[in-house]
Amino acid sequence: MATISFIDAIAAAMREEMQRDSSVFVMGEDVGLKGGVFTTTKGFQAEFGEWRAMDTPLAESAIAGVAIGAAMYGMRPIAEMQYADFMLPATNQIISEAAKIRYRSNNDWNCPIVVRAPFGGGIFGGLYHSQCPESIFFGTPGLKIVAPSTPYDAKGLLKAAIRDNDPVIYFEHKKCYRMVTGEVPDEDYIVPIGKADVKREGEDITVITYGLTVHFALQAAEELAKEGISAHILDLRTIQPLDEEAILEATRKTGKVLIIHEDNKTGGVGGEVAAIIAEKLLFELDAPIERLCGYDVPAMPISPSLEKFYMLNKDKVMEAMRKLALY
């Protein structure tokens, strides 16, 4: 067990998989010589050469599309989108192609790509370096989508994504990169895609969330415990396919559910989670299903006063949790 940062866990997962399997490689803008704008792939070119840590032209549809072609041949490309905001030019390749290749060929072809996308705000990135675009891709069957919150999950889920035989979008929260550290086993392991994780056991309220906001919920739960409020916290980890069993079990645990995500509320993953509960466990609920999410604005602005207003934090989360507990 070593304690490492979130970003180092991501780098370690890629490095180990590239050492293990010569068909794994990483491609994207500035991932080679520079080692990535967040230095996630620093040193990769020295270790794996120019081709396996490949600087691509500035063209996301080609990054995704070329990765898809290589994957259909049998390679295991990790396509890095420099910021999740810049995945959008690749939407057609991801949704029309990657997601449908197995289905449309009746299982004759498949497309084992990983699209890594640094997402989320709170870094003074402004409208186009802060977005949570998961709702654009969520709801496209054929894609798997993960969004880890801890170094352990980040490493295990990225390894699982690379080994997966279907396309996986891997959302990594930029704010977690260096802020979040945690223990990671020295030996090889994976975190299975499709399995949520109870990050804290509790009795009074259930919080269902993923990504950065998991940490706000855990911090808030810590403080609320002192007030005698016991929170049960489920980290979805995978947002597609959703771990319905875990969602229902966590709901049963307390009968009061708060769903939290940074992505704007309308059309977000939280709506689907609430709908599943309202369909399957309506009569076990002791309170309305609450959602605490980003505001329904096009994206978060950069000015400190505005970004602070937009972003969730421990206090906003604690307030929502307390309100639900007292319901």
Partner: protein, 338 residues
């Protein structure tokens, strides 16, 4: 006879390295595809199938290219008019009929996709979609894999003239150009994108000249001449295999049929224009060539038509009678089995 043979020595196909048998085989595929498409149109009119998009007028280019490539070795990313191409690289008329009837046994998609969305892993035919031009970056990806794994195959993709205006054309070819990847992209310029003529669609005089944007050769060739297309694609393949990178080929022909069975082309072009272009049809031209060089005859031609009719009749019956997919199969293969 001796004289005859000595004439053959100098025939164009021999000069290009094609045996008489291959030259005849090329003709057979061109004719087979033409007759397949005609059958498809009849079946649609008869209400046996819902929809057909034909490659009528593009067979010469498709077969010329296919013979310049290595079956079951190179990787193929055809587009929806490439019936002659996929036949020439190994798809059977029976398989194609299963596809246009959307039957369970169809190897392209088991009746999931529209006809013309070719796929056949054993034949290295890569599954394609409807959004045009997405296959260009895919082909570049196969070529990248060849380079990374030191394999000696090339990737070959086709698309239409209008489709060369999609961003993926630009992004894909630039990527191939920067890394000198073994890919050949052939635009089948049939001078229309549905109703839009080349002049209102593509701002460059030729599509071949777009290669200058990607640091690769761009070659324009008469798409009605299978031997010329063979020559051009063969040279492109050699360049690719020798590490000299990608080639953009523009095969120029004319879309002799309407865009699809849903299209009335006389709403946007004249019968005269269409008739003029029938004069340039590559199939009779090539048949005459084979006869002139003395390796083909009217008798053999009649026999071939017979044989093809028989084959298509059987394939049609097979496709017609074959079972539809089970309704619940709608739910399978969204993801791989764990």
């Amino acid at each position: 006879m001796v004289q005859q043979t000595s004439v053959n020595q100098e025939t164009k196909h021999r000069q290009l390295g094609l045996s008489d048998e291959q030259a005849i085989e090329m003709y057979r595929y061109m004719l087979l595809a033409r007759k397949f498409d005609e059958r498809g149109l009849v079946l649609q009119r008869a209400g046996k199938i819902n929809f057909h998009v034909s490659g009528i007028g593009q067979e010469a280019a498709q077969v010329g290219a296919a013979f310049a490539l290595q079956k079951e070795h190179d990787f193929f990313l055809p587009y929806y008019r490439d019936y002659a191409f996929v036949l020439a690289v190994g798809m059977t008329t029976k398989e194609l009929m299963l596809s246009i009837f959307a039957k369970a046994e169809d190897p392209n998609s088991a009746g999931r996709q529209m006809p013309g969305h070719f796929s056949h892993r054993k034949l290295n035919i890569v599954t394609g979609s409807s959004p045009v031009t997405t296959q260009v970056p895919h082909a570049v990806g196969f070529a990248l894999a060849a380079k990374m794994q030191n394999k000696d195959f090339v990737a070959f993709a086709t698309l239409g003239d209008g489709s060369s205006n999609q961003g993926d054309f630009h992004e894909g070819l630039n990527f191939a150009g920067v890394f000198k990847l073994p890919v050949i992209v052939m635009v089948e310029n049939n001078q229309y994108a549905i109703s839009t003529p080349y002049s209102r669609q593509v701002a460059s005089e030729t599509i071949a000249q777009r290669a200058t944007s990607y640091g690769m050769p761009g070659v324009r060739v008469d798409g009605n001449d299978p031997l010329e297309v063979f020559r051009v694609v063969k040279e492109a393949r050699e360049r690719a295999i020798n590490g000299d990178g990608a080639t953009l080929v523009e095969a120029v022909m004319y879309r002799l049929s309407p865009h699809s069975t849903s299209d009335n082309d006389l709403a946007y072009r004249t019968k005269e224009e269409v008739d003029e272009n029938w004069e340039k049809d590559g199939i009779p031209k090539y048949r005459n060539y084979l006869i002139e060089v003395g390796i083909w005859s009217e008798e053999q031609d009649a026999a071939l038509h017979e044989e093809i009719n028989k084959e298509l009749k059987e394939a049609t019956e097979y496709g017609d009678k074959a079972a539809y997919p089970k309704p619940e199969d709608t739910l399978t293969h969204v993801y791989g089995e764990e």
